[in-house]
C-alpha cells in the first residue's frame, strides 16, 4: 500500500473518531514518507505523551517553517509542558519535605522508601540524592549516591570533597564509624560497626569492633551527651597557655610593668598555637587543617600527619618554656644569697 492510500485511510479513521487506528496509520505514513507535513500535523495532536507531540510539531516546522498555525500550537504545548513540569517539581519537593519530616521523627525506613520513589520519578533530583546519601549506611551505596550528585551538579565542590572522603572511607570503614561517633551520630556508628563485625576478617578484628559496639551501647544506655569536637579542641587548648601564663607571672614577680620581659610574653601566642596543634593531633576529630594543609580526604588526619602536627605542637609549646627556664637559670647563676638577718 502506498503512502497516499495510507493517508486517506488515516484521515478517514481520524474523522470517524477512531483515534488509535488513525495514529497508527499516520505513523505508517511518516515511516514511508518522513516529510509528509499533513501526517505530522495530525500526529502532533494524536500522539501521547506531550514530548512526542512537541517533537511532531518540530518536525512539521522543519518541513515547512512558515506554518504559523503549528508554531502557535507548539508554543501552547510548550507552555503546557512547563506547567506540568512545575507541578511535578513542586509535587516532588513536597515529597522531599515529607522525607525531612520523617528524618526528624527518626522514621528512617519510611524516609528511605519515599526517597526511592522520588528518585524513580526524577533521577536528577539533587536534594533527594543528598538526603538519600545521608541516610544510607553502607559505604559503597554512599559512594554511588555521591557519584550521582556530582554527575547532576559537577560544580558542587562540597559534594566533590564528600565523594573523595567517602571513597577514602570505602577502604577504611572503621574510620567512618569513628567519624560518625565524633559527630554524635551514635545509631549510624553502631549500625556500621555491626555491619563491619559481620564482615570481620579474623577474631582479633571482630574483638576490636565488638568492644566498640559494647562501648557505644553503654554510652547510649547511660544517655551520655555529645560534645562538639570544636568545643573539645577549644577546651583542651587552654591548659598549656594557662600554665605558661602563671609561670611568666611568677618569673616577673607578678608585675609585668615593673619587671617587663617582653621576650617571655612573645611565647604566649606560640604556646597557644602549639597547644592547639597538640590538641588537634591528639583527639583525632575531623578538622579543616587536615584537608587544607595536607589535602587528606578523610579530614581526620593520617598517622603520619598527626605525628608531624604533634611534633610541631610540642616544639611550639616547649620552646617558650625552655626560654623561660633559661631565663630562670641565668638568674640563678647570678643570684647572691641574702644574709640570714635579711629575715628581719
Amino acid at each position: 500500500m502506498d503512502s497516499a492510500e495510507l493517508l486517506r485511510q488515516a484521515l478517514q479513521a481520524a474523522r470517524s473518531g477512531r483515534e488509535l487506528t488513525a495514529r497508527d496509520l499516520f505513523q505508517d505514513v511518516v515511516r514511508i514518507d518522513p516529510n509528509n507535513e499533513l501526517a505530522w500535523m495530525w500526529l502532533s495532536g494524536l500522539l501521547d505523551p506531550l514530548e512526542d507531540r512537541i517533537a511532531a510539531c518540530e518536525r512539521v516546522l522543519s518541513i515547512n517553517p512558515g506554518n504559523r498555525q503549528i508554531r502557535a500550537y507548539k508554543d501552547g504545548l510548550l507552555k503546557e509542558q512547563n506547567v506540568a513540569r512545575q507541578n511535578k517539581l513542586s509535587e516532588l519537593d513536597e515529597k522531599v519535605q515529607q522525607v525531612r519530616w520523617y528524618i526528624e521523627d527518626a522514621k528512617r525506613d519510611e524516609a528511605l522508601l519515599l526517597l526511592q520513589n522520588i528518585l524513580r520519578e526524577d533521577n536528577g533530583h539533587k536534594d533527594a540524592w543528598l538526603l538519600f546519601a545521608d541516610l544510607l549506611v553502607n559505604i559503597h551505596d554512599k559512594v554511588r549516591a555521591y557519584e550521582a550528585i556530582v554527575q547532576i551538579d559537577p560544580s558542587d565542590q562540597t559534594a566533590r570533597e564528600t565523594l573523595k572522603r567517602y571513597r577514602y572511607f570505602h577502604h577504611n570503614p572503621l574510620e567512618l564509624a569513628a567519624s560518625y561517633e565524633e559527630e554524635g551520630e551514635l545509631d549510624k556508628a553502631l549500625e556500621l560497626y555491626r555491619v563491619l563485625a559481620t564482615e570481620a576478617g579474623d577474631g582479633s578484628e571482630f574483638e576490636r569492633i565488638y568492644k566498640n559496639i559494647v562501648r557505644l551501647e553503654d554510652v547510649k544506655i547511660e544517655n551520655v551527651r555529645h560534645v562538639r569536637p570544636s568545643l573539645t579542641i577549644l577546651r583542651l587548648s587552654v591548659g598549656f597557655p594557662l600554665l605558661y601564663l602563671l609561670e611568666v607571672l611568677i618569673q616577673e614577680g607578678l608585675n609585668p610593668i615593673r619587671h617587663p620581659a617582653p621576650d617571655l610574653w612573645i611565647g604566649i601566642p606560640m604556646v597557644i598555637f602549639g597547644s592547639f596543634l597538640l590538641t588537634v593531633a591528639g583527639i583525632r576529630s575531623r578538622h579543616a587543617i587536615w584537608q587544607r594543609w595536607f589535602g587528606e580526604p578523610d579530614g581526620r588526619g593520617s598517622n603520619v600527619t598527626r605525628v608531624l602536627v604533634a611534633v610541631s605542637g610540642w616544639g611550639l609549646v616547649l620552646t617558650p618554656h625552655l626560654l623561660l627556664m633559661w631565663d630562670s637559670f641565668m638568674r640563678l647563676q647570678t643570684f647572691q644569697t641574702p644574709f640570714i638577718p635579711w629575715i628581719r
Binding site: V227, T232, V238, L246, I250, G253, L254, R331, L332, T337
Partner: protein, 233 residues
C-alpha cells in the same frame, strides 16, 4: 584520718603511669638528698640552698633568685621523709583516677598548674614572707580538689583511730577531701589576719585546691561528656 586507697577501679586506662612517675621522681629526689644536702652541710650552706631552690615569696616579688625554677624545684622536694610519705600517699590515693579522667600528659600539666597556682596564691597572700617553703602539697591539694569535683561519691579506704583503736572504713571521698580542706581554713585565716607562722603552707594548699576548677580544661573528651551528662566519670 589517713587516706589509704581509692577503692574504685579505673575506667579508661589500667596503669596510672604519670602518678607513679611523679611519686618516683619525688622519692628519688628525697632519697638522693644526702648527695646534694649532706647532714654536715652547715647552717649557711643550708640557708643558701633553700634560697636557691625553695619557694620564697619575697624573692619572687622582688624578682631576685631563680623565679619559676624555684617554684618547680620546691614542688619536687620535701622537708623530710614523713613529709614525702604523706604527700605521695595522697597523690597515690587521689591521683590515680584523676589521671584516668585526663590521660597521663594532661594530668602532668594539670599537676604543674596546680602547684604553680598554689605558689601564686602564696605570693599574693604572704607577699612579704622571706620564709622558704617546699613540698608537693599545693599540687596534691589541686589533685584532691579535682577528685572532689569528678568523683564526689567515690569511696576512700581511710585509716582512722577511734580513741586508740585503728579502723579503716571506706569513707565517701567528698567527706575525706572536705575534712582536709576544712583543717586548712582556720590556720590560713589566722596567717592572713594575725600574721601567725605555722611552718605549713596553708595558703599554698588552698591555692592548689582552688586551681582544681581548671580540671575541666584537662579531662579527656569521653570523661568530660560523661561529667556533663551527670553520669559517673
Amino acid at each position: 584520718m589517713l587516706p589509704l586507697n581509692d577503692t574504685e577501679p579505673n575506667r579508661y586506662s589500667w596503669f596510672p603511669f604519670m602518678t607513679i612517675l611523679l611519686i618516683a621522681i619525688n622519692t628519688f629526689i628525697e632519697v638522693a638528698k644526702p648527695l646534694y644536702l649532706p647532714d654536715d652541710i652547715g647552717m649557711w650552706r643550708y640557708w643558701e640552698f633553700m634560697m636557691h631552690y625553695y619557694f620564697t615569696p619575697k624573692l619572687i616579688l622582688s624578682t631576685e633568685g631563680p623565679g619559676i625554677l624555684s617554684s618547680f624545684s620546691a614542688m619536687f622536694m620535701h622537708g623530710d621523709f614523713f613529709h614525702l610519705l604523706g604527700n605521695m600517699g595522697a597523690l597515690w590515693v587521689f591521683g590515680r583516677r584523676v589521671e584516668d579522667a585526663c590521660g597521663a600528659w594532661r594530668f602532668l600539666v594539670f599537676y604543674l598548674l596546680a602547684g604553680t597556682s598554689a605558689h601564686l596564691l602564696t605570693v599574693l597572700v604572704m607577699y612579704d614572707s622571706p620564709i622558704p617553703s617546699v613540698g608537693a602539697s599545693g599540687a596534691i591539694f589541686g589533685v584532691m580538689g579535682a577528685y572532689l569535683l569528678l568523683y564526689p561519691a567515690g569511696r576512700i579506704r581511710t585509716l582512722v583511730f577511734l580513741s586508740i583503736v585503728p579502723a579503716w572504713p571506706r569513707i565517701r571521698a567528698g567527706w575525706v577531701v572536705l575534712y582536709f580542706l576544712g583543717v586548712q581554713i582556720i590556720p590560713a585565716l589566722n596567717i592572713l589576719f594575725s600574721g601567725a607562722n605555722y611552718g605549713v603552707g596553708y595558703w599554698a594548699h588552698l591555692g592548689g585546691f582552688f586551681s582544681a576548677a581548671f580540671i575541666f580544661l584537662f579531662m579527656r573528651p569521653e570523661a568530660f561528656a560523661r561529667y556533663l551528662s551527670d553520669t559517673p566519670v
